[in-house]
């Protein structure tokens, strides 16, 4: 099992969800985050003082999947989130040792979906 973490542009969340649904990945958890990456922030002035904003609004998606879903999930995220512009985001994949469904106590592969 793997835990997939993706940072995407906020306005792409709906597209990513659609793409995941198409690949039959229905479960996920989402948080809002601030990201600092290749994408430069922007300068503004507030009350005449220069402001440099380099933490940009991003959305963090966390998805636990079984092995055979890893590639489809990654593909779906890329499909939904890619615009080709800097700031599109990253996908990180880590090993997931164990998974438990709280409601039933089920463990492992069955608990994921």
């Amino acid at each position: 099992m793997k835990l997939i973490i993706a940072y995407i542009q906020p306005e792409k969340l709906n597209d990513v969800k659609q793409a995941l649904y198409a690949k039959e990945v229905y479960k996920m958890s989402v948080t809002n985050a601030l990201g600092c990456g290749q994408q430069k922030g922007y300068h503004e002035t507030y009350r005449g003082v220069d402001v440099e904003v380099n933490l940009l609004k991003k959305i963090r998606v966390e998805i636990a999947v079984n092995e055979d879903f890893v590639q489809p999930t990654i593909d779906a995220i890329i499909e939904g989130a890619r615009t080709g512009n800097i700031g599109d985001g990253k996908i990180f994949v880590t090993d997931l040792g164990q998974c438990v469904r709280i409601r039933t106590g089920e463990e492992g592969h069955n608990a994921i979906g």
Binding site: P10, E11, N14, N32, E44, Y46, I59
Partner: protein, 450 residues
């Protein structure tokens, strides 16, 4: 403050008091005693303050009903349209609206120069009368901001504001509220502005919204409308209360006289009843048709009642205010849904509230108006026949058409020169940062995925 009692002003006032009821207290201009002029002017000035305060109400309602990322932008529009309207109405608008000219527009009194101290046919100082009228002009300008919210460029909005406050609104006002105006002479009635303010503003918003196009994401996949929730319902609710409060200056203040109190107090009562019933009716309709009593729609209902009663408020009995409010509450729900279906994306319901109910209020004078209360002919329900209703319909149609044509031309001109709409990227990021370089709620974590 006490220091000022050496000023001429106070000496005059003191003199006036000490010699009452001698001849000198009768103002030279009006033949009315100074105290009468003083009291009428006081009432109009206080009413003008209340109308000014509506600006805060518009701002809060419009900001609360849209997304957080665009709320400073709409507040800036609101703030600046009032400021611009004030300056424009001083320099130009007042002269076009209340100046002497022909039946289409006036042309005297630019910068108030040459305007009589006491406004003819009233006992009100020109300063107070101007202030009251200028605040009205600001209100008319503000209506459009909401309908075109979340995507219109700020600079374009300023151009729009100049056009409506310096030219379009004053011309309509001239037709209806200047004795010499062609609609006034036909016996068309609009006590406090269902036509002049709300039809003008509401239908300008209508055409503007169409020319601007819907917000990104509003109509997805085959055109079904998507709900884009307002970000701060409590301030929107506060805004509605402030508008309602300010409307007590708008309508009752339009008597521009205290008299024996019967006129403005009946207007106040009617205003209050129509708003309350409008809210209840809208709530009932939403509840029945969509399953739950939606606060935002209920608030629109109250505003609809207020808009609709604005025109007839002085010409009707309380029971008629209830009837007018009830229809308005139903109408606004229908209006919002209809416009959504027609893909007219009006985030705050400006067209349904002001446009639709401005029409209803204008027509209602022909239905519920009473000759004894100042309409040339009794309305339908009093057996006065269809004549007054006909005049009202004519006036309403002309003003709506005039507003749509003029403002449509302005919006199209802007669109093809400086551009009316922000870029797609800016619309995503929000107009607060894009247009003004600031956030409305710095630090707050706001989940924005649209």
């Amino acid at each position: 403050m006490l220091g000022m009692f050496k000023s001429k002003v106070s000496l005059l006032a003191a003199a006036a008091i000490l010699v009452l009821p001698a001849a000198s207290v009768f103002g030279a201009d009006s033949g009315a005693p100074d105290s009468q002029v003083g009291v009428d002017t006081l009432w109009v000035t206080i009413a003008a303050m209340l109308v000014f305060f509506m600006q805060a109400g518009f701002g809060m309602v419009e900001a609360g009903f849209i997304r957080a990322k665009n709320s400073s932008n709409i507040l800036m529009k609101n703030f600046i349209d009032y400021c611009t309207a004030i300056v424009m109405f001083f320099l130009v608008g007042y002269a076009i609206m209340f100046g002497t000219g022909n039946s289409f527009l006036g042309w005297s009194g630019f910068g108030l120069s040459g305007v009589a101290d006491i406004i003819p046919n009233t006992h009100v100082q020109k300063y107070a009368f101007w202030f009251f009228q200028a605040a009205f002009c600001g209100a008319a300008a503000s209506i459009v901001a909401g309908g075109m919210a979340e995507r219109m460029k700020f600079a374009a909005y300023i151009i729009y504001t100049v056009a409506i406050s310096a030219v379009v609104y004053p011309i309509v006002g001239h037709w209806v509220w200047n004795e010499g105006g062609w609609l006034a002479q036909m016996g068309f009635k609009d006590f406090a502005g269902s036509t002049v303010v709300h039809i003008t503003g509401g239908w300008a918003a209508f055409i503007g919204t169409i020319i601007l196009g819907p917000r990104i994401g509003k109509y997805k996949n085959g055109g079904l409308p998507k709900a884009i929730a307002g970000h701060n319902i409590p301030i929107a609710c506060l805004g509605v209360f402030i508008l309602w409060f300010g409307w007590f200056g708008f309508n009752p203040g339009s008597t521009v006289a205290v008299g024996d109190g019967s006129a403005f107090s009946r207007v106040a009562m009617n205003t209050n009843l129509a708003a309350a019933v409008g809210a209840l009716a809208a709530m009932a309709v939403v509840w029945i048709f969509f399953g739950k009593p939606d606060l935002s729609m209920t608030m629109n209902g109250a505003l609809a009642g207020l808009v609709a009663v604005t025109g007839p408020c002085a010409y009707i009995e309380p029971w008629a205010a209830i009837a007018i409010g009830a229809v308005a509450g139903v109408l606004v729900v229908i209006g919002v849904s209809l416009l959504d279906r027609l893909h007219v994306d009006d985030p705050v319901g400006a067209v349904a509230v002001h446009g639709f109910n401005g029409i209803w209020g204008t027509l209602a004078i022909g239905v519920f108006g009473q000759k004894a209360l100042g309409v040339p002919l009794d309305g339908l329900v009093y057996g006065g026949g269809w004549s007054q209703l006909g005049v009202q319909a004519l006036g309403m149609l002309t003003v709506a058409a005039f507003s749509i044509v003029c403002m449509g031309a302005v919006f199209l001109a802007i669109k093809h020169t400086m551009g009316l709409r922000v870029s797609r990227a800016e619309e995503f990021r929000g107009l607060d940062i894009g247009q003004h370089g600031m956030e409305s709620y710095a630090g707050f974590q706001i989940f924005a995925n649209e």
